[in-house]
Amino acid sequence: MKNIAIAIFVALIIITLGLYLISFQVRETESCLVTTFGKATVEDQITAPGWYFKWPFPIQQVHRFDSRMRTYEVESEETTTAGGDPIIVSTYVVWKINKPLEFFNATKTVRRAQSEILHSRIRNTQNNVIGRHYFSEFVNSDPSKIAFESIQNEMLETLRQDIADAKVGIEITALGIKQLKVSEEVSKEVFERMRAERNRRAEVITSQGKGESIKIETDAKSKADELITAAEARATAIRGKGDAEAAKHYKKLEADPELAMLLRDLEALIKSMGEGTTIVIPTDMRPFNLLKGLPELKPAEPNEP
């Protein structure tokens, strides 16, 4: 019993060790190439993850490649647009190993792939594609004329084609321009222009402000005048109505027009001789004649019995 258990245990261990020699795992993040005495064909590429068998070491050997995406960027570089404008760009790519055999034959290591294969190809593509476009396609005051994104796509397609033709087992998944700059000299000119543009705008703004405020003020004044005129018109109408209403009462005066006129005259006289008047009156005038002496008075006889 004991011996059997031990035997099974030992057997398991031996099998495990044996399997280590004749099989291997491919992880999700990898792809592998199995070489037989150093040689490999397309069928020897393994890109699907799982458990695979092979001949032990001297006969077959497994080369593993990390198939995850990596980024590689080329430092900023001055290049020229179609119109001859200097422009400084920095391009990056996202790439991965997709064909282990081609990659193995071409470079073997990631570092060499980047410095020997990608670097020069990215620069070439960058210079070629940018050289085909005018600066006004990168930035334009009319947004519909900006073709920046399509320039990047064109670069991606060109580079993809180039890399695919070279058969180096690399796939470019993305590409982009991460810096877009102008040269030192040009930046000075840009500042010059920005300043001029701002100053011009400040002037426009100032004059706008003046114009606007004058307009608001005059508008208000004319509105106010108009309203007052309208109010005056109404006031005149009201006065007219008053005069008309007063006229109705004049009818009553027809009872004795002479007396009415006299009363009216007296009223006017009182009104015109208001405060501050100096009056010089002869003593002949009543009641000042009393100052000269008492008139002769007879008791009045009753007028009518």
Partner: protein
């Protein structure tokens, strides 16, 4: 590795057991005794090892993580079951299964300063900006910036259209988190975790170059579509645009990363042109002030003229569709100078009517008496009037009129304005 070492020991011991059964002498006995004991110890060790081996399959997944199980290198399970949620899980021990934990819940902030002008350590620490000469250029390899498009101009055409771009500095912050653990694990490059490294930090550092590149690309791509004023005023639209671009690209390369937010933390005009930009800002403020002043003046003027309803009334007067009733409503709410004018008119109306009525009534009331005694009534009215006049008068002179060759001459020197009158400095001369 530890297991293998133990296995080797086992292999060495096993062949030693067989010769022990053939010769059994005293020495052999003690040897076999020793062997037996060591064998028992070995057995115990083996059982412990087996248990330890099986127990090593228990794995915990943290609350901020999700996990994938690789069986022979391939992700185990189908659909939802591929991803293990937080908690305790048992998987087959190495080398059959392998667990990969991915921190999905944690959001990471990534500041991007590569579009800002060069600052020395000291400047960054002190927070002060060194003034620059207006003609100092930006060095493309040292100073960061973006290019923004120029203001749209109708007359701009051809080559000129591309030449009125501006330069702007900006600082950003990208917040991201891992969204799809499977895509992330398969496609995104993570460096190997070395002893002493914190797993989460290794992930963050590994994805940083990718995110930085994609993000900077998005900023450059987006900003050429905006003017400098739009970029400076930190409109929400630009971060949204950039977020969209970044997410599109991350999705396209199946990175499994989700952009949580994009923030424009800071943006500025180039220091070289700051004065001009500030002057322009001041001009706008000045304009706003002037307009506000004008508006206040306008409001006051209208208010003084016609009160709060002035504007409404003005519109109503120029609008045929406003009903007479509505206009009357407005007129009734009138205030200010206009109201005064109308009020004066009303007073006049009342006065003139009342006076006419009073006069008429007075006439009618005295008429019967007058008809009986015209002389007396007339005298009374007349003297009443004279009395009233004399009451009102400031100065009165009663003069004795005498007959002379030259008639009567009276000279009176009067002060025209009663308020300026000192004493009664009048002079009365009488001839004859």
């Amino acid at each position: 590795m530890k297991e293998e070492k133990e296995d080797n020991k086992d292999l060495q011991v096993t062949p030693a057991r067989e010769p022990a059964g053939e010769e059994l002498d005293a020495a052999g006995k003690s040897l076999s005794e020793a062997l037996r004991i060591s064998f028992i110890i070995l057995k115990v060790i083996m059982i412990v090892l087996v248990i330890a081996f099986l127990a090593s399959g228990f794995k915990t997944v943290g609350s901020n993580e999700r996990a994938l199980v690789l069986r022979f290198g391939k992700i185990r399970g189908v659909g939802e079951k591929r991803i293990l949620s937080p908690g305790l899980h048992w998987i087959f021990p190495y080398p059959i299964d392998e667990i990969v934990k991915i921190p999905v819940e944690t959001q990471v902030n990534l500041p991007i300063d590569s579009f800002w002008y060069f600052q020395t350590e000291q400047e960054i620490l002190s927070g002060q900006t060194r003034p620059v000469r207006p003609d100092q250029p930006l060095r493309p390899l040292r100073d960061g910036y973006c290019i923004t498009r120029g203001e749209r101009q109708d007359q701009a055409a051809g080559d000129f259209a591309g030449s009125d771009y501006s330069i702007v500095h900006s600082k950003w912050q990208l917040t991201y988190q891992i969204d799809d653990p499977e895509e992330f694990f398969i496609n995104t490059y993570i460096e190997d975790v070395k002893p002493g490294d914190i797993y989460f930090n290794v992930i963050t550092e590994s994805v940083e170059p990718l995110l930085k590149n994609v993000f900077e690309d998005a900023v450059v791509t987006a900003l050429v579509n905006y003017t400098i004023d739009e970029a400076i005023s930190s409109q929400d639209r630009i971060p949204k645009h950039i977020k969209r671009l970044v997410q599109e690209k991350l999705d396209k390369i199946k990175s499994g990363i989700r952009v949580v937010s994009v923030q424009l933390t800071s943006s500025d005009y180039p220091r070289q042109v700051k004065d001009a930009f500030e002057a322009s800002t001041r001009a706008s403020q000045q304009r706003d002030r002037e307009i506000t002043k004008a508006r206040t003046f306008a409001a006051n003027t209208l208010n003084e003229a016609a009160g709060p309803v002035a504007e409404q009334l003005y519109l109503a007067l120029h609008d045929e569709s406003v009903s007479e009733q509505a206009k009357e409503m407005l007129w009734s709410q009138l205030a200010g100078t206009a109201r005064e004018k109308i009020a004066d008119a009303r007073t006049y109306r009342t006065e003139v009517v009342e006076r006419a009525r009073a006069n008429a009534d007075y006439l009618l009331s005295i008429l019967p008496e007058y008809k009986q005694r015209p002389e007396l009534v007339m005298q009374k009215i007349y003297l009443d009037a004279i009395e009233q006049i004399l009451d009102n008068a400031d100065e009165k002179f009663v003069v004795q009129a005498t007959e002379g060759s030259k008639g009567t001459e009276i000279r009176v020197l009067v002060n025209r304005d009663p308020k300026l009158k000192k004493k009664k400095s009048t002079e009365q001369t009488e001839e004859n």
